[in-house]
Structure formats: structure tokens, C-alpha cells
């Protein structure tokens, strides 16, 4: 029998052929490899959310191996001496065990918590990017809605997660959550009693939160994230305006290899930063809080940052109780408005915003080009108003700490929050609107008259004027032409024009030699360099 020669080099090609024979993947794979992605630093904010979600899944699975979601009373006998002999729930005891008796458990717990905070933070910042640049407009309203839902589902994931350890702080949070549910008119007591199986705290809420936190909510998150990414893929990413970029094309890099490599590298960087935070910065030191006891709380009990705005709204709410004198009398407690109605309104506004704006502007067109925030003053100002509202509430969520640290009266802080919540957002609207108009005007000015050179010339009659470098060659009446604004950065410094050489790069010391200065300040080299002739594109885009 003749022995066939085995050719190693031909294996990949042969395998590929065999795969394509069966699954016909060559053409779709080519399309995937070739897909073009536009690039800008602000497009990476959503990636941070995605990557921290991956870290959440990885560390979360680790934690499930050791956590016991039960409220059975046990006596702690682990290695953390100060709590030894204390009766506590099995959930809290196993959380302590993860922190002290599982080797490397503490860093996993802290990484899990930090990545949750980072997940929510990057969702918010990503959402602001999408909002302020108009990326939510048609055809991307669906993805905006999914993104908004992701914030609220993430909020639930966070709350159910940090309630699990059943420590003194999270138990207080759970107590407040039960009061919030109780405050809902008509169904409040039934809802609370059904969720807690009786009166607060009951004996089952930790197990119920556990299954929600490790299965139901993550399942929902995975589903929403998949659709979110799928839609970005299908609808293709938005891009900034600029040379060669139109509403009908995508200008950028093909997905492989450079773009994918950068994504992979960025994932590892996010992962690394979370690891550093999880190791170096302590978070949620549950062993200081002790087990949850209904009669113990300390000052400065704050929830995680993304819940603080609700805590703040609760603190600022005046004690307005609505009494309905029918029969024995019914009550709508003041807690209902800031914790159920307000979030409801916020969800509604955020979900509807793309449609409200399109309706207001009678805008039915497809938009694939982003807008600079200054070019849409009304939206930018509205966004600034929303951010101010959120910040006032969040700060009010910590008003006792602020009062304590800065020696301010606590009641004065509450009143400052109440008044600030009404006055600051409209003020932010006005200021932002004016800033946008000012920035617009400056762009137009530079396009019409050119860039300030810093060269002062004395005229024969004694006046001093600054010499401007026009951006276009002269064919207008006074020697230079007016350029149209194209919705992208207008160069405002001489080095952006190539007249002074590029800005010197480097962090501590220049990475490149500074370009030679012009021979005489009186004779600036007005001829732009050949490779920098395209006005309107940032240097890094070239």
C-alpha cells in the first residue's frame, strides 16, 4: 500500500475548504472581515460598558460557587475574629467567608462590585454621548430605547446584587425598598407582602433576589445587549461629518485586523483597570457594617452611586401626605412621589425623547452623521438641564455627609437641594444655550476671517490689529473667501493649519522634535504643507 504524504502546510486551506463545503461561510465571512467601522474616541464609551459586563459575568460566576443565598440564622465562626460568635444570616456569613476564608475571594468580590459601578457609569456616559451628538435619531430610535432600558435593568441588577450580602447597610436599603413598594396606592401592601412573603424582612427575600440577580436579570441584560449590538452592526455606526463622509457612507477602518486588535487591547485595558481597582481600592467592606438588624443604622448610609439620585429625591421631598377621607381613610405617603412617580416619569421621557424631538422638528429623514452639541443648542441645553437635575439629586443623596464634612447645617443642605432642584436646571439650560451660540459664532468668525496668528500689526494711523490667517485662498472682495460650515471642527490654531508645525506630542517630554519656528515672525509661512491641506479634518484622522 502506498503511503500518502501528509502535507502540513495544506491543512488550513483544506480545512477551510471542508468547512465552506458544508456551511457556505466564505462570502459572509468576507463581508464580516471587510466591514468598515468609523473611529472616534467617544465611540469607545459603550465598549467600556460591554467589557465591564463581561467582567461582571466572569467574577459573578466565581462568587456563586461560595455564596449561600439563605436567611437561616447561623453563628459566625470564620476567621474574622471581631464578628466570631455573632448570630447572623447564612447569606452574610457566606459573604464574610468569601471575603476572608476563600483564597482570592475578596478580590473577586471587589472586582465584581467595581465593575458593576463602572458598568453603570459607562452606560450613563455612553448615553450622554449618544444624546448630545444626536446619534439616537432615525433610524436608531429602537437602539436608544434598548439602551435606556439597559440602564434601568442594570439599576435593578445592581440593587438586587448589593442587597445579597445581607449586611447592615444593604439591609437598610432593602428596608427602604420595602417601604417604597408599600407606598404604592391600593396595591402597595399586597405587593410588598407577596415579594417578601409576609412582613419585612421575612425569610425568603434573599433567595428571591438571588435568582433574580444571577439568572433572570442577567438573562434580560444579555438579551438586550445582544439586540443592541446586533442593531449597531446592522444599521452601521454613525460617524462624525468630515472630508469624504456623507450620510450614505461609512468612512473608517475595516474590522480586521486593526480595528479588532484595538478592541481586544481595549478590553484587556478595561479588565486590567478593574483588577487594579478591585485589588487596591476597598469597596463595600461588609465586615464593618455587621449583620442586618432592624434597629441599627449609622449616619452616612449611602447606596451605590447610581441609586443615590433616588435617595436624594426622597430626602428633598416635602412631607406632603395625601389623605383620602373615604371609609376608614386612605393615604398616599410622601415617599410615593420621589421613588415611584419620579423614576416613572424619567423612564417615560427617556424612552420617548427621540420621537418627541423628531415630532417637534418635523424631522423624518435618516441621520447617519453626528451633530456637534453646539450646533443643536436646544437639545444640548435640555441635556445640560437633565444632567444638572441628576447631579443636584445625587449630591442631595449625600447631603448628610456634605453637611458633616463642610460643617454646614443639615437642614440648610436640604433646603439648598430643594431650591437648587428648581432653579439650577433652567439656569443650566440658559447658560448652555448661550455657550452653544457663542461657540457657533466663533466658528463662523474663523471661517470668515481666518485664524488668529498672534501677530500684531500697527497700521499707519496708529491702530493695532491682529493679523488673521484666512482658511481659504482669496477670491472674495477683501482678499479672502468665506467658507461654509460643514459641521465639523474648525481649525483655530496656527499649528492646526500646518503653519507652525504640529502640536508637540508627548506626555513628560516631546516624542518628536518640535518643528522649526518660522524664520521671522513678520513672515509666517502661510503656504500650508501639502499633506495637511484638508481643512476640517482633525489631524489624527489623516
Amino acid at each position: 500500500m502506498k503511503r500518502r504524504k501528509f502535507d502540513v502546510a495544506a491543512v488550513p486551506a483544506k480545512t477551510a475548504g471542508a468547512v465552506d463545503d458544508r456551511f457556505q461561510v466564505a462570502t459572509p465571512l468576507r463581508k464580516l472581515l471587510n466591514k468598515v467601522f468609523p473611529d472616534h474616541w467617544s465611540f469607545l464609551l459603550g465598549e467600556i460598558a460591554l467589557f465591564s459586563f463581561v467582567v461582571l459575568l466572569l467574577t459573578g460566576v466565581f462568587l456563586t460557587f461560595f455564596f449561600e443565598p439563605a436567611m437561616t440564622e447561623v453563628v459566625y465562626n470564620g476567621s474574622y475574629a471581631p464578628l466570631r460568635g455573632t448570630p447572623m444570616s447564612a447569606a452574610y456569613a457566606s459573604s464574610l467567608d468569601i471575603s476572608f476564608d476563600v483564597r482570592g475571594g475578596l478580590i473577586m468580590r471587589q472586582m465584581h462590585h467595581w465593575s458593576a459601578l463602572l458598568f453603570m457609569a459607562s452606560i450613563v456616559v455612553h448615553m450622554l454621548r449618544v444624546f448630545f451628538t444626536g446619534a439616537f435619531r432615525k433610524p436608531r430610535e429602537t437602539n436608544w430605547i434598548i439602551g435606556s432600558l439597559l440602564f434601568w435593568v442594570g439599576f435593578l441588577a445592581g440593587f438586587t446584587g448589593y442587597s445579597l450580602p445581607d449586611d447592615g447597610l444593604s439591609g437598610t436599603g432593602l428596608r427602604i425598598a420595602s417601604a417604597i413598594m408599600l407606598s404604592i396606592p391600593v396595591i402597595g401592601s399586597w405587593l410588598t407582602s407577596s415579594i417578601f412573603d409576609g412582613e419585612f424582612p421575612g425569610t425568603i427575600i434573599i433567595s428571591r433576589f438571588y435568582i433574580a440577580h444571577v439568572l433572570l436579570i442577567p438573562g434580560l441584560l444579555v438579551a438586550l445587549i445582544s439586540v443592541h449590538l446586533g442593531l449597531v452592526f446592522k444599521q452601521k455606526h454613525t460617524q462624525w461629518p468630515g472630508p469624504g463622509r456623507t450620510n450614505e457612507n461609512v468612512v473608517g477602518e475595516r474590522m480586521f485586523p486593526r480595528y479588532a486588535l484595538k478592541q481586544g487591547g481595549f478590553f484587556m485595558v478595561v479588565f486590567g483597570v478593574i483588577a487594579l481597582m478591585g485589588g487596591l481600592f476597598q469597596i463595600n467592606p461588609i465586615w464593618y457594617f455587621g449583620p442586618y438588624e432592624a434597629w441599627v443604622v449609622s449616619a452616612a448610609s449611602q447606596p451605590d452611586w447610581y441609586v443615590m439620585f433616588l435617595d436624594g429625591s426622597t430626602r428633598l421631598m416635602p412631607a406632603w401626605e395625601i389623605h383620602i377621607p373615604i371609609g376608614d381613610g386612605y393615604v398616599i405617603p410622601p415617599l410615593f412621589w420621589p421613588t415611584v412617580v419620579l423614576p416613572g416619569i424619567l423612564v417615560g421621557i427617556s424612552l420617548l425623547y427621540p420621537f418627541l424631538e423628531a415630532r417637534h422638528l418635523k424631522d423624518r429623514k435618516h441621520h447617519n452623521l453626528l451633530q456637534r452639541p453646539r450646533d443643536v443648542p436646544a437639545r444640548t441645553a435640555a441635556g445640560a438641564m437633565a444632567v444638572t437635575f441628576f447631579v443636584v439629586l445625587t449630591l442631595s443623596g449625600a447631603n448628610d455627609v456634605i453637611a458633616d464634612k463642610f460643617l454646614i447645617s443639615l437642614n440648610a443642605m436640604t433646603w439648598a437641594g430643594r431650591i437648587g432642584l428648581l432653579i439650577l436646571p433652567p439656569l443650566a439650560y440658559y447658560v448652555t444655550y448661550r455657550l452653544c451660540l457663542g461657540l457657533q459664532q466663533h466658528d463662523r468668525e474663523v471661517l470668515a476671517h481666518g485664524v488668529e496668528t498672534g501677530i500684531i500689526r500697527r497700521l499707519p494711523d496708529g491702530r493695532f490689529v491682529e493679523v488673521h490667517q484666512p482658511l481659504a485662498s482669496g477670491d472674495g472682495h477683501d482678499g479672502h473667501a468665506e467658507l461654509d460650515y460643514v459641521g465639523w471642527v474648525v481649525p483655530k490654531k496656527m499649528n492646526r493649519l500646518g503653519a507652525l508645525g504640529p502640536a508637540i506630542r508627548g506626555f513628560f517630554y516631546p516624542m518628536e522634535r518640535p518643528a522649526e519656528a518660522p524664520v521671522s515672525p513678520g513672515h509666517p509661512p502661510v503656504e500650508p504643507r501639502a499633506e495637511r491641506e484638508e481643512i476640517g479634518s482633525g489631524e489624527s484622522r489623516r
Binding site: 475595516r254 479588565f271 401626605e321
Partner: protein, 361 residues
Amino acid sequence: MSTHTEHPAPQGRQPLDVLDPRVSRFDIVLEGARRDDIEIVHYEPQVVPGSKAERRLTRTVASFFLLTGLAATAFLVIYIWWPWQWEPGRGGDKYYTPLLGLTLGVALLGIGFGILTWGKKLLPKEVSIQDRHDQPGAPEDRKITGETMLYLADEMGVRRRPLLGVSLVAGLLPVGAVAAAPLVGGLISQPHKNNQMFTTGFAPADGHKVRLVREDGRPIRPADISAGGQLTVFPGIEHGVSNRHADSPTLLIHLRESDAVASREANARVGHGDYMWGNYAAFSKICTHAGCPASLYEQQTNRLLCPCHQSQFLITDNARPVFGPASRRLPQLPIEVDEEGFFVAKSDYTETVGPDFWERP
């Protein structure tokens, strides 16, 4: 930096024969891109092969990867040999988690920056343009799809045979309810069984008045609290000091003489004339706002502050809310001293304890 090297000349649209062995690999890539409506308009290597810059960047990337190997090894060494069990004091175990974080972080950042440098600095830069093709389908296509779907309905014949539709809906609605039934039925819990929302552990059992006890279960004599002092007390029943009676924790306050007078007057105004015993008054510790323990007692002003949302209650005025979001006073527990000289509750709270809800009378 030149923009014109390697610039693919815009060739016409004649298809390239990719099977021709003379065609370069890059030309095949260009042809593939063209087939996906992509034009690579700018393609420029960032480093000249074999140049000093390339060698330097290669060394940078390599050292990032080697740093990762080093840090990961350090992680393993620390993980295995560093003392990690908690000890009192400032032992080496306090550095276990920080060291793990540092080494893991450096290892991951090493791979990250290595890959980023590789991708950003060593790979050629390019600018490609792809058509979006996000125009809606042609009217004809839309029509065809729409008609196909309508034809499906025709085939089903629901319109001609309405009984099918009606009976299907009538049959499926209960199935939906069946799916929901176990969930709702299993979870639902009557909130008012045993009148639980209106009673606490202080309700007298079998005619016996319930003692006020400390956290360790010991009963309390009036002499145990000095004037101006306060103590958290619990019902002296089984599991009274536990979360099973989460709405029972009570604050027993020994008021100073002048405050006690004011307090008694206030009591009398609301018909609680006999709720205090001597200068001692007991109020629910569970905030009527959101249920946190209102535990910060300011002796000078007789205000009780809840640290969760800063509701403040004036103890000498029936614990009326004077600031913050709480709208209802803290319920007062009527107390007296039994024949053995220990505090007991005369009866349960006469107002609803804890956060407010719809059907509170």
C-alpha cells in the same frame, strides 16, 4: 509621511481574475473589498520594514507581553505563598488582596497595551469607505412582502371562517391565565393575616403585659437610664430581639424634668395622658417615612433624627415630624412599671408602626 505610496489606483470596474496566480494577495483583498462596496482610499504602512522604528516598536510590544508574563507569574507566586488568612493587626495578610490586584492589573494592562501598540503603531493605517445601503426596500419589494403576508392570512381563511379565530382566542386566553396562575398564586400573600401590619411584639399575650428588654434580653429598671439618656428596647418575648420583629424596636427615653413636663402636656393634648411613666417615654424607633431606625437622638433639642433621609421628630411634642420627608409622628408605646420594678408595655402601640401605606386608617 507620504500619502501617495501604496495608494491603490482607482481602477475601472473590470472584475479582477482572482484565480490568476500573478495577482498579488493585496489585490485580491482590494477586489474582495470592492465586492462589499468598500473602497480602500488610503493605505499606508506606518513603519518601513526593517527600519529602526519597526525594531523599536517590536521591542516595545514584546516587552509589554513579557511584562504580562512576569506579572502573571508574580500573581501565582503571591496567590500560593503569601500569607492570606486574616489576622488581627497589620500583618502581611492585609497586603494579599492589593498585591493580587496589582499583579493581575499589570498583567492585563500589559496584554492590553501590547495589543494596542501592535494594532495602532505597527499595522498599516487605512481609510476605507463603505456604502451604507440603508435605503428602505424598493416599493415593489415592500409590496411583494406585504402581499405575501396577507396571502398567508387568506390561506388560513380566518376571514371566511370567523369561528376559528374566535374559538382560538377563547381557547388561548385561559391558557395565558394558566401560565400566570402558579406564579401569581404562589407568590401572593395576604398582607393582613394575623393583623400583622398593625401589631408588634408588644401586644400582650394571654393577658400578660410584655416587658421591655435590652438587646441581651435583660429587663430594665427605671434607675438603669439616667436623665437625658435613652436606650433601644425590645419586646421581652421569644425572638423579640431579632429581625422577626423588625417593627418592634423602641426607644426608651428618660426625659429631664422640664422636658418631661412639656412632653406630658403634649401627650394630654392628643389623649395619650397616661402613656408616659414618670419622666420616661417610649417611641417606636422605626421611622414612619421609610422604615429605617430613627436612631440619632439629640439630647439638647430633644430631636430624633433618622439618618436615612433626615426626617426629624420632636420627642417633647409627641415625636411630631418637624423637618424632612416624614409626614407622620412616631407612635408612642404606653409604658408602666410592673410589681417587680421592670418596665412593661401597658398595651401594644395604638398607632400603626413603620412606613405608611394605602389602607392605614
